[in-house]
Symmetry: C2
Subunit: 217 residues, 2 copies
């Protein structure tokens, strides 16, 4: 696995949050294993590796989840002022049925036993580990020429029930993963006028926090 | 930036959580900008880019944080059963003063205004974005030949006060970043017998959650 486009910075630059470009062809199993293997090599607090990956291919399960997401999308749309709503109407928020499969990433706070090294002062440190794994997964998918889109228009309990996830395990993401026609070069939300990107310099502070006007923008 | 070792999978494999290998030499500013730029190109819910980076070089601030971490380390050690404690005693948990600088990554839940696209159903989706940026930062540091170690033995309010971080901004990580003598090939916690890695196959489920014995181990 060493094609010309897998240098880290290049992959970071090409990575997109994909909704509309899925083609639905199957992902070869060796590719999927490499992508999940990249996620599984993420750092984790106390080496607890608190993540799991539920691979959802079943069309009925996916259609059912998509219907739920549609409802949540409508609920968000209804909360928007008219000018934001017009912009939002143009934006596709998921490719659940069009992607090759769903990868539901979950977090188990009980994994690692009662004494997780590095988690006693910050309970969320375990949850953070699970999210680090997602970014590895996302970048590996991009390096493999696949697309990935993180869906967050859902209620955790609905997804938990749909997949039989136990009460003490938290679904963190539904990732639409799959073959794509292409990756856009500009993020959807920027192309559709939802929001512009912030300059890096605005995010950097020296030694102490420096208050800036855009803190609440 | 295209040296032979920056292919994504290679970087993911080489990345370590560094404590003991820092040399303390300065990180050139162009390198630091590339590393922070990689973090800043992470995906974020509703393109909210809710992260900030406080670069902590001041020796007094670092010494003060290290003292606090020592206290928290002692408190965790006191909570352990004897056999775990002996293993923990061998483990270094931070390189705050030995690293080239600290990068404190913060999360602002107010960034992006009142209608963050994709966050209405899952409040933590913003926090997840900030953690995705940390993984980009970590991988970029590794690609640049630097080391990074995430310190989590601290109380968020103590760190907030130390750096003047406002009450509505959450410190998510203190990252020790810097030049290193080398990167270990096996994680510290595995080398010191704290915990072994879990096979990838145990983390994969098909279509629905499959209960396994190691769920609570």
């Amino acid at each position: 696995m060493n094609h010309p486009t897998d240098s880290l910075y290049d992959v970071i630059e090409r990575r997109r949050d994909v909704r509309a470009e899925f083609t639905g062809s199957p992902v070869p199993d060796d590719v999927l294993q490499r992508v999940l293997g990249a996620a599984h090599r993420a750092p984790s607090v106390g080496m607890s590796q608190p993540w799991d990956f539920v691979l959802v291919r079943d069309p009925e399960t996916r259609a059912s989840f998509r219907d739920h997401v549609r409802t949540e999308r409508a609920s968000f749309a209804a909360s928007l002022p008219p000018e934001r709503r017009a912009s939002f109407d143009r934006i596709k928020v998921e490719g659940i049925c069009e992607s090759s499969l769903g990868v539901v990433v979950t977090h188990s706070q009980t994994r690692g036993g009662p004494h997780v090294l590095g988690r006693h002062a910050i309970a969320d440190a375990g949850l953070y580990s699970t999210v680090l794994a997602i970014q590895n997964l996302w970048l590996a998918a991009t390096a493999e020429g696949l697309g990935l889109g993180w869906v967050s228009f859902y209620r955790e309990d609905v997804l938990r029930q749909l997949l039989g996830i136990p009460a003490d395990v938290r679904p963190v993401a539904w990732l639409c993963l799959g073959t794509v026609s292409h990756l856009e070069t500009v993020p959807d939300l920027e192309r559709h006028g939802w929001r512009a990107r912030r300059p890096l310099a605005d995010a950097i502070h020296e030694d102490t926090w420096q208050a800036r006007e855009q803190d609440h923008a």
